[in-house]
């Protein structure tokens, strides 16, 4: 779709706004016109929960880096909350497939880590420590880790570590939560448990969520909008609104409506892959 050269001001209600964003990881790649992601145009509303699915290497993590300001686009602009992105955005919290908790810190101290780094909490950390600890404990309780703050990460199961990692991402009350395949390493039961925990956190606080996943059921269960990316070029090729009403219960995943959407997405990704293969041959 040809995008008319619309002025940047057009995007009033979008919280995340990508306009013709291209990224090459370095100058060499730029010179040879090799982009990790191409021509991203995307508007995400305030408080929206989106999911991104796509094959590995298609640029999902790259998209996360652009959204958080860890990478600057080679072409195009990214606006977050009306402001152009110029550097790392501390209104975001991130969690990944590996919980990457620090083993020498207790779970509570791990969750508190961002407050030791990000302003304004950083300079208040010593004085308000009690208050911050209480906040961290409340957060831990809300994900089912009440009373486990003094445990060390290695004393927790994989699912519990991932919950703590999500708490760490949320402790500074970010406006945007970025999750890069956070549940990929967990077993099916634990994963569904964590879906519900994430759903409840989001429904309570309504921050923006960008969830990268390989699991179509996960994306449909959790997100308001599912985007599919294609590989080489890394582009957003499908946008699908998920009209299933909230609050969604796990039961919904067995409903006709749910499975139809999952099937539809699978079909579209399959068609896209086939087209890609034809192109290669």
């Amino acid at each position: 779709m040809p995008v008319a050269s619309a002025p940047a001001a057009a995007s009033d209600d979008a919280f995340v706004d990508f306009e013709n964003v291209w990224l090459a990881y370095n100058d060499e790649l730029l010179a040879s016109n090799t982009f990790a992601v191409e021509d991203i145009n995307l508007k995400i509303k305030q408080g929206e929960f989106i999911a991104i699915v796509g094959p590995s290497g298609c640029g999902k993590s790259t998209f996360m880096k652009l959204t958080t300001g860890l990478k600057m686009p080679s072409k195009g602009t990214v606006h977050i909350d009306g402001q152009p992105v110029t550097g790392p955005l501390k209104i975001s919290g991130m969690a990944f497939q590996a919980p990457s908790l620090l083993p020498w810190r207790s779970t509570l101290d791990n969750v508190l880590l961002p407050l030791e780094i990000v302003e304004p909490f950083r300079s208040q950390f010593k004085d308000r420590r009690k208050e911050f600890e209480e906040r961290a404990n409340n957060l831990l309780t809300s994900v089912g880790l009440g009373g486990l703050g003094s445990k060390f990460p290695w004393e927790l199961s994989g699912g519990m570590q991932q919950r703590a990692s999500i708490c760490r991402a949320l402790i500074h009350e970010p406006k945007m939560l970025l999750l890069d395949e956070p549940f990929a390493a967990l077993d099916a039961f634990t994963r569904e448990e964590l879906w519900c925990i994430l759903r409840d956190l989001w429904e309570a606080q309504r921050f923006n969520v960008i969830l990268v996943t390989h699991d179509l059921r996960e994306s449909v269960f959790l997100a308001d909008t599912v985007y599919c990316m294609s590989r080489s070029p890394g582009r957003f090729v499908v946008k699908r609104d998920i009209p299933i009403p909230r609050t969604r219960d796990l039961e919904v995943t067995y409903s006709r409506e749910f499975t139809d959407i999952v099937h539809e997405l699978r079909g579209r990704i399959g068609a896209m892959r086939k087209a890609g293969m034809d192109l290669v041959q």
């Binding site: 958080t68 860890l70 969690a95 020498w104 880590l113 030791e116 302003e119 060390f152 290695w154």
Partner: protein, 256 residues
């Protein structure tokens, strides 16, 4: 005696067995004391020259600790430098590796020219031989940061310094303590080697003078004493390692 106890006592038992076999062989074949003294003879000589051995041992000990102390300071600083800056790593590391390949004993004559016979060359040889493992281990601990964790911190506006102090240094502590126990044994090697040619005191000197006067028992007790000191220090640092960075052992024990 169950299996676990057996395992625990196995080094002592093996040592005992070696001593017994050694003693037996020497006696059965009637090997001359001037070629290879028996354990009982070494023990006799050790007792006989107790005072002398002790004073030489003390000298070797403090000289080694001085060199080792310098090695810790320099090793930590250099390790911190090259672990926290890619440029410094690229510049320093290849040179350090080349330096490490040089036999440190070869420095002794040069050090003698600069500092004369005595403490100077011994301390410096101990230092030169033992700082490398400390440096490398600190640098490794600092440099291995998972990319995800780096993103988590960088997005919060963490400065390099934050990442170093909150993640890098604590992470490198097990590596650091691990390197200390290796380094301390190297430091004893350095001191002894240097004392053999560039000192009138210390176990190295004792070894040379005992050898040249054919007092083989005394020479062997010199070896015994350095070995005992090095091993005691090794055990000490290994104890400190276990009790300061327990998380490193426990978190790997679980293994997922």
């Amino acid at each position: 005696m169950n299996k676990k106890q057996l395992e625990r006592w196995s080094p002592a038992l093996l040592l005992l067995a070696i001593i017994v076999i050694w003693e037996v062989i020497i006696r059965v074949f009637g090997v001359s004391e001037f070629i290879f003294p028996s354990p009982s003879r070494i023990w006799e000589q050790t007792m006989q020259h107790k005072a002398i051995i002790l004073s030489h041992a003390w000298r070797t000990f403090w000289v080694t600790m001085a060199g080792f102390g310098i090695a810790i300071v320099v090793g930590v600083l250099l390790g911190f430098l090259i672990g926290s800056s890619r440029l410094a790593y690229a510049a320093v590391y290849p040179l350090m590796t080349a330096f490490n390949a040089l036999p440190k004993a070869a420095f002794v004559p040069i050090l003698v020219v600069w500092f004369g016979i005595g403490v100077g060359p011994a301390v410096l040889t101990a230092f030169l031989i033992s700082f490398f493992p400390i440096m490398v281990n600190i640098a490794t601990g600092l440099a291995t940061l998972e990319p995800e964790l780096e993103d988590v911190l960088r997005v919060l506006g963490a400065k390099r310094w934050d990442v170093l102090t909150k993640v890098g240094l604590p992470r490198s502590m097990p590596y650091f303590f691990g390197s200390l126990k290796v380094s301390i044994t190297l430091a004893f090697v350095g001191t002894t080697v240097s004392e053999m040619t560039a000192s009138n005191e210390g176990i190295g000197y004792l070894l040379i003078s005992a050898g040249s006067s054919m007092q083989m028992g005394l020479a062997f007790s010199g070896l015994l004493v350095v070995g005992a000191m090095a091993m005691a220090m090794y055990e000490l640092f290994s104890y400190i390692e276990k009790h300061t960075t327990g998380w490193a052992h426990r978190s790997t024990q679980r293994g997922g």
